[in-house]
């Protein structure tokens, strides 16, 4: 059996392989620059590769830096939470370690992707100006804030997808991060349902119910793609709103995240 023949056939079927390959090869190449190929020619080659790969439009840079701001926030939040003594019960440690790992990976990827265009990490106030004073000492508060952050993250990425229409590869990366945030959101909502003893709270968002009104505003939307879905398939309004997650504008996200950012 000729494995290379199979790979070639596979590439013919998978039209996307070429694009992904281009990026992966480039990334592999960049890793090598650090080790073996540090010569005079490299900086120019490196710069042109990075520009071609990531900086295809000013819009994309804006979106990536916006995403980086939120990922910095989440990463720092879980670093502090995971490090706090007597906060997260042993039974739930694995969950928050996994979430924290992903947020660190998202930060690392975005910083690398943006290169010298990456914004600096802000200074954060996780007590939200005094509203969450016990966020790292009271597990209930920690889980509630975590769940709110994840739901906001999902809505933030969703709101930016349209800005990346011209940058197919960056759009795909954003979508790949977006669904990971949604997995986190579902899991933290399940924990939040337990710690707040609220069985009505599920992995999905029902109507616009939530701890912080601004985070869930518009989640009760019943019209999708210009089609009013009320009564569709004889399902309840609650089910219809659960079946679709809604976006938030950048301004709305920054209004929510703003109090977390000191400077």
């Amino acid at each position: 059996m000729d494995i290379f023949k199979i790979i070639d056939d596979f590439q013919k079927i998978d039209g996307d392989a070429a694009g992904r390959l281009e990026f992966a090869t480039r990334r592999h190449f960049m890793n090598r620059i650090g080790s073996k190929l540090a010569t005079v020619a490299v900086p120019t080659v490196f710069a042109s590769i990075v520009n071609k790969a990531y900086a295809q439009s000013a819009k994309a840079i804006d979106v990536l830096n916006f995403a980086l701001t939120l990922e910095y926030l989440e990463d720092e939040f879980y670093k502090a939470g995971n490090a706090a003594a007597n906060l997260i019960p042993a039974s739930d440690k694995t969950i928050f370690t996994q979430i924290g790992k992903h947020e660190s990976q998202h930060v690392a990827f975005l910083v690398k992707a943006l290169g010298d265009k990456a914004i600096k990490k802000p200074t954060f106030d996780f007590k939200y100006g005094g509203a969450f004073n016990d966020v790292f000492t009271n597990y209930k508060t920690f889980v509630t804030v975590s769940s709110a952050l994840e739901d906001t993250g999902v809505r933030a990425y969703k709101g930016q997808a349209g800005e990346l229409l011209a940058d197919a590869q960056i759009l795909e990366y954003a979508l790949q991060v977006h669904s990971v945030e949604a997995r986190h959101a579902a899991m933290t909502r399940r924990l939040a349902a337990t710690v707040t003893a609220n069985p009505a709270m599920k992995g999905w968002i029902t109507g616009k119910e939530g701890a912080v009104a601004a985070i869930y505003a518009g989640e009760d939307n019943m019209t999708q793609g210009g089609v009013n879905l009320k009564g569709l398939a004889s399902k309840s309004d609650a089910a219809i709103t659960e079946a679709f997650d809604e976006p938030l504008t950048k301004a709305a996200v920054l209004a929510i995240a703003g109090p977390f950012i000191k400077a």
Partner: protein, 241 residues
């Protein structure tokens, strides 16, 4: 100067060499998706008379169409399969199903039915026909078989939407797909938490890569992976084109 020239040649060679490594990895990754679906099918088929479930039945041939309509029909096809699957799950609950599990699976069934009927309505006369699912290989009486299949359907759905996003031309359609994919990802996480409660599996290392990225898989690979679950022969060669 010599040095510079040499490094350029070297870097070209390195790119060539790493390309084949990457080719192999991509191939194995995509093959892994198909294989994991195949394993369940084969394992389940041992108790079944169906000779080869991965060969589609004698149903109709269905072309998803081209451009954005093709992508939406692709999503509609997957939602049809998911809706049919969960309808069966609720109609014939597995042995020992708990109230909490029934609530979750009923919610998911309703979401998938809403997705399916929404696409049908939005596509209007451009919608593909009603597909005929083939779940003969899934043992609906067993919890592990049902939740295992649910996990595969949800993870596959997420990878499918993630891979199809870049094929869309219209921002409105992209937003719509985005509104649905995060709900599918929520389903995937919850199903995974039912299978392995409070573990890292809700966003496990088997599905999320070292950049913290979920999977994105192109339509051809997804259609190949799900073909054992549908009697019709689905072609998506022009999806997004």
């Amino acid at each position: 100067m010599n040095r510079q020239t040499k490094s350029k040649i070297d870097s070209g060679k390195e790119e060539g060499a790493s390309a084949s490594v990457v080719n192999r990895r991509l191939f194995l990754r995509s093959a892994g998706l198909a294989t994991s679906l195949g394993t369940i099918v084969i394992a389940a088929a041992c108790n079944d008379d169906d000779p080869d479930p991965m060969i589609p039945g004698t149903g109709d041939s269905v072309d998803l169409g081209s451009g954005d309509v093709g992508v939406l029909n692709y999503a509609y096809a997957l939602e049809q399969l998911e809706a049919a699957f969960y309808t069966q799950v609720i109609a014939t609950p597995f042995a020992g199903i708990t109230d909490a599990e029934k609530t979750i699976l009923t919610d998911i069934r309703d979401h998938e039915i809403i997705h399916r009927d929404f696409f049908k309505k939005a596509l209007g006369d451009k919608a593909i026909k009603d597909l005929t699912p083939n779940f003969a290989t899934i043992d609906f009486t067993k919890r592990d078989a049902v939740l295992g299949a649910a996990k595969l359907f949800e993870d596959t759905g997420v990878a499918a939407y993630n891979g199809a996003g870049r094929l869309l031309k219209d921002g409105g359609n992209l937003l719509l797909a985005g509104k649905i994919v995060s709900v599918e990802a929520r389903h995937a996480a919850v199903i995974r938490d039912l299978l392995k409660p409070k573990s890292a599996d809700f966003a496990g290392d088997d599905i999320i890569n070292e950049n913290g990225f979920d999977k994105a898989v192109a339509p051809a690979d997804i259609l190949a992976a799900v073909k054992g679950y549908v009697k019709d022969t689905i072609t998506g060669a022009n999806v997004g084109k």
